[in-house]
């Protein structure tokens, strides 16, 4: 593998069928040491024996969740600011959700409307552009909240945070591949962001499954059409690391999305365009290098008309 063109191996949930080992072999990932980020498992972070049994490489735990806990313990002012930031993010997400619901309902009704084709097409465009504008506004607000925190606690300043960041960099020395597991995407993204790992990881080969893959996108989109209390509208959570640009990754789409509801899917696709919405189901493998897809047999993208179609391999 050429270290100048790092490889992205993106997988779906590793249940019920585990395809991690085979996908790594097929992708030609060599036998070097691999750092495992399992912060998305929270307190179960580092419990990676199951993964060790699947791959021949030497794996080691890169603890971000535990490091964050230790950092919070050591730096009370940072912890306080972090909590405040999280409260602000939740408040912002709640306000966004309120507005989003109304706009999405309207957009779906208009997408289903029949009658004067030209007038309806115009209204559709406008309804979708309103949604996109709301998403952009929300992301701007979210970014401002993050920036305020980062201005106060920059990773390159001295202090406990900088010490942890230096220790993580040291842990990654001599490693060219990192594996990011699935799990709680908010917890994972917060830890990756807290330690400013985006730039560092972008130079490495990355294997990511589910939440681990989602964090690599430009934006993280939360979605679930089958919640017990009824469906929720897909929500922009925050920016991702931007390592897999131009894509929205949808783990376990088969179970989480109502894929036969084409109006709903069409709205999903058009709302997040020009990014390509790609499914990552159990057994899916998406291999990318230089931003190009080289293996995607098991991956579908949501077309503009709401159908799910095979991804064209470049």
């Amino acid at each position: 593998m050429n270290p100048n063109t790092p490889l992205r191996l993106l997988l779906g949930p590793q249940r019920p069928v585990v395809n991690l080992g085979k996908a790594m072999t097929d992708a030609g990932i060599g036998g070097g040491r691999i750092a495992v980020i399992s912060a998305a498992w929270q307190e179960a972070e580092g419990d990676i024996d199951d993964i060790r049994a699947l791959v021949d490489n030497e794996l080691y735990d890169l603890p971000l969740y535990r490091r964050a806990e230790a950092l919070f313990e050591a730096d009370k002012s940072l912890h306080e600011a972090y909590r405040n930031r999280q409260d602000q993010l939740i408040e912002q997400q709640n306000m966004y959700r309120l507005r989003l619901r109304q706009l999405t309902i309207a957009a779906r009704v208009i997408l289903r409307a029949e009658g004067n084709a030209a007038a309806i097409a115009e209204e559709r465009r406008h309804a979708i552009s309103q949604l996109r504008a709301l998403d952009r506004h929300h992301l701007r607000q979210i970014n401002r909240i993050y920036e305020r925190f980062e201005d106060a606690f920059a990773v390159d300043r001295s202090g406990p945070l900088a010490e942890h960041v230096a220790a993580i960099q040291q842990d990654l020395d001599g490693t060219d591949t990192v594996l990011i597991t699935g799990g709680n995407v908010v917890v994972l993204m917060n830890r990756l962001q807290l330690f400013g790992l985006g730039r560092l990881l972008s130079r490495m080969n990355i294997i990511g499954w589910s939440a681990g893959a989602m964090t690599l996108c430009d934006r993280i989109i939360l979605f679930h059409d089958r919640m017990p209390q009824g469906r929720r509208e897909p929500e922009v959570l925050c920016n991702g690391l931007g390592i897999v640009p131009g894509t929205v990754l949808l783990p376990n789409a088969k179970n989480r999305l109502r894929t036969r509801e084409t109006v709903r899917s069409s709205l999903f696709s058009r709302r997040f365009a020009p990014a390509t919405c790609l499914t990552l189901d159990n057994e899916s493998v998406l291999l990318m290098q230089d931003g190009k897809v080289s293996d995607s047999e098991s991956v579908r993208h949501i077309a503009r008309d709401g159908t799910f179609a095979r991804v064209k391999v470049v």
Partner: protein, 378 residues
């Protein structure tokens, strides 16, 4: 009359083989839209449908179908309904209460079993069935000394599949826990809903009273048992979250009364309640007519209705519309809402039975204790 019966009776005297074919070719009871026809085959002087449905006569008489050994009766059952029933067959002067011999769908409860009529549109929820993909939690039996009852008490404790000693979990306390496991498939439900992230991984204390009609009937000793015996035991033995909103108590029928009573006697100990078909009998005037076993319940409920306090922040209630208790359950809603309780009340086209309570568990548990499905992408 259903088309299948009409076809059979078109002949003036259907032969035995015609009746055999009719019986083997159809599923019973015969469901034709909202008309449900129950059929009994055999010698009898009379046959009655017994289904203990509030709103229907206690015993619906069957009619003998001329020229056959069949008996039938038809009732109207709204879409999505589910009822439990038995046949009361009188033969040679003897009355027998039996399961429907032509219907294999049976529901069990602590008193035995009933045949089940699944009306048009009813489906047993798939999340309540065994799912081989769901990771399986563990049940362990525990015994501890109860100061309230001055004797040791046995409970079962459910630990989620991903249980780890270094994590903290919410606590759910279940009245009639063994019955919920046996008759409402609670283990499958917990495994499935946890696996699907619809509820958080939680620790569940399943209690079973040796004398539920006494201990669950608004009994102070039982409330003391939950708060002074069970909670400290669970806190000492298991890694529990320590906030009030991470503790939920649930129960059905008298178990619903016990849950509400404990939360009322000890406010700010339980964040949420799940009350299924609670036996919330009360009397605004004069005496109640539900029998002496309800006396302490009525005393408690009358007191509660005067001074409801705020037993919990969130309450999920459910009740079948074919239960006589629907009136008492509905009337409890405004009392709780007036105190600012975040309340959700679900009515079901079902009666006072375990499968009704099973079928409402997903909506109730996931509303009171929402899981991380929205944020977790495994």
């Amino acid at each position: 009359m259903t088309p299948a019966l009409k076809k059979l009776l078109r002949k003036s005297a259907p032969s035995v083989s015609d009746v055999d074919a009719f019986v083997s070719e159809n599923a019973f009871p015969l469901v034709d839209g909202t008309d449900v026809t129950f059929v009994y085959r055999g010698a009898a002087e009379s046959v009655n449908l017994r289904c203990w449905i509030s709103g229907l006569d206690t015993a619906q008489p069957f009619q003998a179908l001329p020229g056959t050994d069949l008996w039938a009766t038809t009732i109207e059952l709204p879409k999505g309904s589910r009822i439990e029933y038995k046949f009361e067959v009188t033969h040679q002067g003897h009355k027998n209460l039996i399961l429907d011999p032509l219907n294999k769908v049976i529901a069990h409860d602590p008193f035995g079993a009933n045949s089940v009529c699944q009306g048009f549109g009813y489906e047993r929820p798939e999340w309540a069935k065994h799912d081989p993909l769901s990771r399986v939690g563990a049940l362990e039996s525990r015994r501890f000394e109860s100061r309230a009852f001055k004797e040791p008490r046995d409970i079962q404790v459910y630990l989620p599949a991903t249980f780890r000693q270094n994590r903290r979990y919410p606590l759910l306390i279940v009245h009639d826990g063994d019955d919920y496991l046996r008759y409402a498939d609670l283990k499958f439900v917990l495994d499935n809903l946890t696996h699907r992230l619809e509820i958080p991984s939680m620790i569940v204390a399943l209690t079973q009273s040796p004398d539920r009609l006494k201990e669950y009937a608004g009994n102070d000793k039982h409330a003391q048992f939950l708060v002074d015996d069970l909670l400290p035991f669970m806190t000492a033995e298991y890694p529990l979250m320590d906030s009030v909103d991470s503790r939920c108590v649930m129960g059905a029928s008298f178990g619903g009364v016990a849950s509400l009573h404990a939360a009322w006697r000890y406010p700010e100990h339980f964040g949420s309640l799940l009350l299924q078909s609670g036996s919330f009998a009360f009397s605004d005037l004069g005496r109640h007519s539900r029998g002496p076993v309800f006396d302490p319940v009525v005393r408690f409920m009358n007191e509660f209705r005067k001074h409801p306090g705020r037993p919990a922040d969130r309450v999920f209630m459910s009740c079948g519309v074919y239960e006589s208790l629907i009136y008492e359950n509905r009337s409890l809603v405004p009392h709780l809402q007036a105190k600012g309780v975040d309340l959700r009340f679900e009515e079901a086209r079902d009666a006072h039975n375990w499968e009704n309570w099973r079928d409402r568990l997903r909506i109730g548990l996931s509303w009171l204790m929402p899981g991380p499905a929205w944020l977790v992408y495994e």
